[in-house]
């Protein structure tokens, strides 16, 4: 198969970038999207050019490293997969493929198609955990957990932190990412204890980082490679309101806002 690629090239964070066209030919339909880009890079190296930088690591759809906004869709045209699981058979022979980095103020471009997603780390650091130390915890079966709750918690916890939700959102909002973590922990009795504090701190941090506001277009859910539901956003909103209206306001939360 042959393709025309239009790829965003940008030397570094400060440089001005632009779309550049490339041609690749003789690509097997069984090759993955990244194997196709590997071939392009091999060509560029051989001809003395500068290979295209893109983030990738596990190449099996779980690490969340890969990104790429392909033809107007994060992770490309196939629903429920990451870019690394995308295969060229999902494209037409001779097609022009536009490849851009994630675009969000909170995700600045580092180079070419690579963006800095450390804003996600910061949100997790604001409270996306259960505050337990490595010792002194009770036996794992001490607290039974309703199976349906545990399953819903897993559904939310399946997030791979790739940022497709932010990339797809017309407002570059991170509500699905944060809603998923808040829901995962709030659904379990172990995480319930500090749920109110957690949701307030994580939302405050999210606001500071420059993500947009949710306008419920649900593009995030449509593009999430792990199919995480917007029900998690509603659950976070609910938890947030409850915390705002009913919980004692801890000093540290006030300080963080």
């Amino acid at each position: 198969m042959n393709f025309t690629l239009k790829i965003w090239r940008q030397k570094n964070a400060e440089a001005k970038g632009g779309m550049v066209s490339y041609e690749v030919s003789g690509i097997s339909s069984d090759s993955s999207f990244f194997e196709m880009l590997d071939i392009l890079n091999q060509q560029l190296i051989e001809s003395g050019g500068d290979p295209v930088s893109f983030d990738h690591d596990c190449r099996e759809g779980i690490c969340g490293t890969c990104s790429l906004y392909i033809n107007g869709r994060p992770h490309g045209p196939v629903k429920g997969v990451t870019t690394c699981q995308l295969h060229m058979r999902s494209f037409r022979d001779g097609e022009t493929i536009h490849i851009e980095p994630w675009r969000a103020k909170a995700f600045p471009v580092i180079r070419d198609l690579i963006v800095d997603r450390s804003a996600f780390d910061k949100v997790i650091q604001a409270g996306g955990y259960v505050s337990v130390n490595s010792g002194g915890v009770p036996d794992a079966n001490t607290i039974p957990v309703e199976k349906s709750k545990s399953d819903s918690a897993f559904d939310a916890a399946a997030c791979i932190g790739c940022g497709a939700c932010v990339a797809a959102c017309s407002n570059a909002a991170a509500m699905l990412f944060i809603g998923a973590k808040v829901s995962h922990l709030a659904l379990l009795p172990q995480g319930r204890v500090e749920a109110e504090k957690r949701v307030q701190k994580m939302v405050a941090c999210m606001d500071q980082l420059g993500f947009g506001n949710c306008s419920n277009t649900y593009a995030c859910e449509a593009e999430c490679p792990k199919g995480i539901s917007v029900v998690n956003i509603a659950r976070m909103n609910r938890g947030f309101l409850k915390a705002k209206l009913m919980a004692d306001k801890a000093k540290e939360i006030r300080d963080s806002m």
Binding site: K6, W8, M19, Y69, N71, G72, R73, P74, K79, H98, E100, R103, A104, K105, A106, A168, S170, N171, A172, A173, V203, A204, M206, D207, G210, F211, G212, N213, C214, S215, N216, T217, Y218, A219, A222, E223, V230, V231, I233, A234, R235, M236, N237, R238, G239, F240, L241, K244, M257
Partner: protein, 217 residues
């Protein structure tokens, strides 16, 4: 209010929006009285009640506050949303999302412009800010409405305004439920259906008056 968190802002906007939604129904009820062939007696009676009752007077202030709050937060949130993506994509977004949800800001602006026109035509005349057209008394909404709807152009603008409002509402109502955290797999389908039915009823109900007056009378 600028310091409110993103969720708080959205919640206030949703609550104000839901409040406006209930108002639309009351207003529609009065409008439909125009269709009654009694020379405007019922309509005028209702309009007079609305204009003079002291409880409604208080309610009117709340209503204005609701409008202002909803519009203020709508503008603020949209501004922030644009800023959150400083560099736009080269390729338009092709994600599989509902048509209605994408144009909330645009339909909101159209409705706002329409609202201003509507104020000039009715509310400002009532309050004396704008002079009434010759031959029509300042509180005579019935003849004022008949006069306006006798113009096909005005009627068309009016209908366009309410179609935009319908589009806005279709997403807005179920979106407000989501924002308030009332999204549950058992009920969300019903909420979405109700929100579509409501928005169609509002758009059709309001449009019925000019259509009836132009075509049938």
């Amino acid at each position: 209010m600028l310091m409110y968190s993103s969720i708080t802002r959205k919640v206030l906007m949703a609550l104000a929006g839901l409040f406006l939604v209930t108002f639309l129904l009351v207003h529609l009820g009065i409008n439909l009285l125009l269709l009654k062939s009694d020379g405007g007696a019922a309509f005028t009676e209702a309009a007079t009640f609305m204009a003079t009752n002291p409880i409604i007077k208080v309610f009117e202030i709340v209503l204005f506050a609701g409008f202002l709050l909803h519009i203020f937060f709508g503008m603020l949130v949209s501004g922030q949303n644009r800023a959150a993506r400083a560099t736009r994509y080269e390729c338009a977004n092709a994600s599989d999302t509902s048509f209605f949800s994408k144009y909330m800001f645009h339909t909101g602006i159209i409705v706002l412009i329409f609202l201003l026109l509507h104020f000039i035509d009715f509310y400002f005349i009532k309050t004396g800010l704008v002079a009434p057209p010759p031959g029509i008394e300042r509180h005579d909404f019935y003849h004022r409405a008949l006069l306006l709807f006798s113009s096909p152009w005005y009627s068309l603008i009016y209908i366009a305004g309410f179609v935009s409002l319908g589009i806005h509402l279709n997403h807005a109502i179920q979106s407000a439920f989501q924002t308030l955290g009332w999204n549950h797999s058992h009920y969300m389908g019903t909420v979405k259906l109700a929100s579509t039915i409501y928005s169609v009823c509002i758009a059709a109900g309001y449009s019925l008056v000019p259509v009836y007056l132009l075509l049938i009378k």
